[in-house]
């Protein structure tokens, strides 16, 4: 690094014109450096976020400017059974998928943390479902869960377990199970690999000491692994819950909300109402209704981070 030639700036100690200040004052410099990122985030994130909430109080449609109608959209949704069904579906989907993702992901992380041949290769392979675009793997699941040519039905029939094909995506209960399964399938690698990163920071001497004191494997996990992993679990699960709750593409590729709205999530319902039916105001109201849930998830994440800093003895920088 030492041989990098850096041209000398002209010494301008005492001169303090407005232009020099703009160039050298640290606050102004900081401002100039922030401009591109802030421009994107303000024009395409903060402004639309506010606009979305405003739209939810209007009767805007595609191609027609809306008028302020106060809370009429929300009152309308309050009496809409499909909306409540989508809320129920979203909560069920989020809760079941997140809980199983956590359980299987933690189990997989513990397995991958063991010493074994081809360990690195296995870890790399496990992450593939997370790399491949969700829609494309959802299409593969759509084909696997096909009503007539499903490979699962075929295998079960040949094993003699069932007599006729299961109508995976046509039956309400099966459809819910299938989309939840596909979501877990996609989410487990993320949870497993991030928790594995956390596991590797746990010092092995702790396990050795505990084992010498006669701790069982379960006690090792319960009293060493789990407490040390809690902060990272909090953060990973917040992300997982957040992305499961607002999931759109998996459902859209597999069922589009069907059969009989059994797999409609709030995100898919808002897309259907806003873009397909053209009721932008109503769709915006549905997506705005997701915000309180998201805020709850963000609070959890924030407290998780705080606790992590506290555990590491870091000051709040």
């Amino acid at each position: 690094m030492a041989d990098v030639a850096i041209p000398r700036a002209k010494p301008q100690m005492s001169e303090d014109s407005a232009w020099t200040q703009l160039k050298h004052n640290r606050n102004w410099l900081g401002f100039w450096f922030m401009v591109p990122a802030m421009a994107f985030l303000i024009f395409f994130l903060a402004y639309p976020l506010g606009l979305g909430i405003w739209l939810s109080f209007t009767d805007t449609r595609i191609g027609r400017v809306g008028h302020f109608i106060a809370t009429e959209n929300y009152e309308w949704l309050w009496d809409d059974s499909i909306f409540w069904l989508s809320v129920f579906n979203t909560l069920l989907y989020t809760f079941v998928a997140s809980a199983l993702k956590f359980a299987i992901g933690l189990y997989l992380a513990l397995l991958l943390n063991e010493n074994m041949p081809f360990k690195a290769m296995l870890r790399a392979m496990v992450l593939i479902p997370f790399i491949v675009p969700t829609v494309l793997s959802a299409l593969a699941f759509w084909w696997i869960f096909d009503s007539q040519f499903s490979i699962i039905s075929w295998s079960l029939k040949h094993l003699g377990l069932i007599n006729q094909n299961i109508n995976f995506l046509g039956d309400t209960t099966w459809a819910r199970i299938c989309v939840i399964f596909a979501n877990i399938w996609r989410g487990v690698p993320f949870v497993a690999i991030t928790l594995l990163a956390g596991l590797q920071t746990v010092s092995p001497s702790l396990y050795e000491a505990a084992t010498l004191d006669g701790a069982t494997r379960w006690q090792n996990f319960r009293y060493i692994t789990y407490p040390l992993l809690t902060p990272i679990i909090a953060v990973v699960m917040t992300f997982s819950v957040l992305f499961t709750f607002t999931d759109f593409q998996l459902i859209w590729a597999m069922t589009r909300g069907g059969p009989v709205n059994a797999t409609h999530l709030m995100a898919t319902l808002s897309y259907q109402r806003a873009i397909i039916a053209g009721q932008l105001g109503e769709g915006a109201a549905i997506s705005s209704a997701m915000i309180p849930f998201l805020l709850a998830a963000i609070m959890v994440s924030w407290f998780g981070l705080q606790r992590r800093k506290w555990q590491q003895g870091e000051s709040n920088d």
Partner: protein, 308 residues
């Protein structure tokens, strides 16, 4: 086959960025007998890995099976095919807009990623090193922006895109994707910049370098691993993005791969499965290949973003 050994050594560095104590179970694994290890470790691991990879096998197999074998499960064993065909890929490449879609996806992903990385480098450097008034607050706000999901933004963004006259143009995606990418990569790069010794910058400042020269000539060359991580992860996110592309694009030739496959290939044709799976496979392969080369960078991006 000759390059296999070196490859596996490279892959051993997965997660090395966060693993000073990797391989720690080596010391105690002798406590377990072999049969016990088979039942508690290899068997469950094998089941999970097979479930995780089966859809890709199925995707690949379907894309090379002849049509009559796809739908006749009684005469042919569905788990294998002895006469693979490239008919589906041929149809994809020469009878559809697929090359167009692939190009669109690539173009949008590269442009959006480059834009976001430039913006993020500047922002992250300013937050970490310039420490202007309110830098911490801005850092917190950017983290919050990371948590705003596209599914609550697409409706208002659609109206914004329409007002700016960007509807049905790749520019709509190039300008909106950075809202997903900037918070993530800023946060990741902040972590990398923090690890660069402050003394280097002090020396340069004393020698009369401007902040801009410091960033270009000192900080960026040292942060190259972080830049690669951010680039790979952002590129993957762009490729994966669906809801904005679905909402903002309309004409068939402008679509990106994920949207186009869902909308254009799903028709009533009972023989569509072969080309559908071929399309899904061809759309996934570029990312998987990229991932195979940069696996450590990808993992460090993923875990880094969670840990910071």
């Amino acid at each position: 086959m000759t390059d296999l050994p070196t490859r596996s050594i490279d892959l051993k560095n997965v997660l090395s960025g966060s693993a000073p104590t990797a391989d720690h179970t080596e010391g105690m694994s002798y406590l377990q007998s072999v049969p016990r290890r088979i039942v508690t470790l290899y068997l469950p691991l094998a089941i999970i890995v097979i479930v995780l990879l089966f859809p890709f096998y199925w995707m690949a197999l379907t894309s090379v099976k002849p049509d009559e074998q796809l739908l006749d499960l009684d005469r042919y064993n569905p788990f294998w095919t002895w006469n693979p065909t490239f008919k589906h890929f041929h149809k994809l490449l020469f009878e559809s807009y697929y090359p167009h879609w692939l190009w669109n996806t690539m173009y949008v992903a590269v442009c959006a990623t480059v834009l976001s990385i430039i913006a993020s480098v500047l922002a992250a450097y300013a937050i970490v090193r310039l420490r202007y008034k309110g830098a911490n607050l801005v850092g917190g706000l950017i983290f919050l922006a990371y948590l705003v999901p596209p599914s609550i933004l697409f409706i208002p963004l659609a109206t914004v895109v329409f007002q700016y006259g960007l509807f049905d143009s790749p520019l709509a995606l190039i300008l909106t994707y950075p809202t997903i990418l900037i918070p993530f990569s800023t946060w990741l790069l902040m972590g990398y910049f923090k690890t660069i010794p402050f003394e280097l910058e002090e020396c340069a400042l004393i020698d009369g370098a401007s902040r801009w020269q410091i960033l270009i000539k000192i900080v960026l060359p040292l942060a190259i691993p972080g830049l690669i991580s951010a680039f790979i992860f952002c590129f993957t996110l762009c490729w994966n993005e669906f809801i904005y592309a679905l909402t903002f694009l309309q004409s068939t030739s402008n679509k990106t791969v994920p949207v186009a496959i869902v909308n254009e290939f799903v028709d009533g044709d009972i023989y569509r499965w072969g080309s559908l799976m071929a399309g899904a496979l061809a759309g996934s392969l570029p990312l998987v290949i990229l991932y195979a080369f940069f696996v450590e960078h990808y993992v460090s991006a993923m875990t880094g973003a969670v840990k910071e």
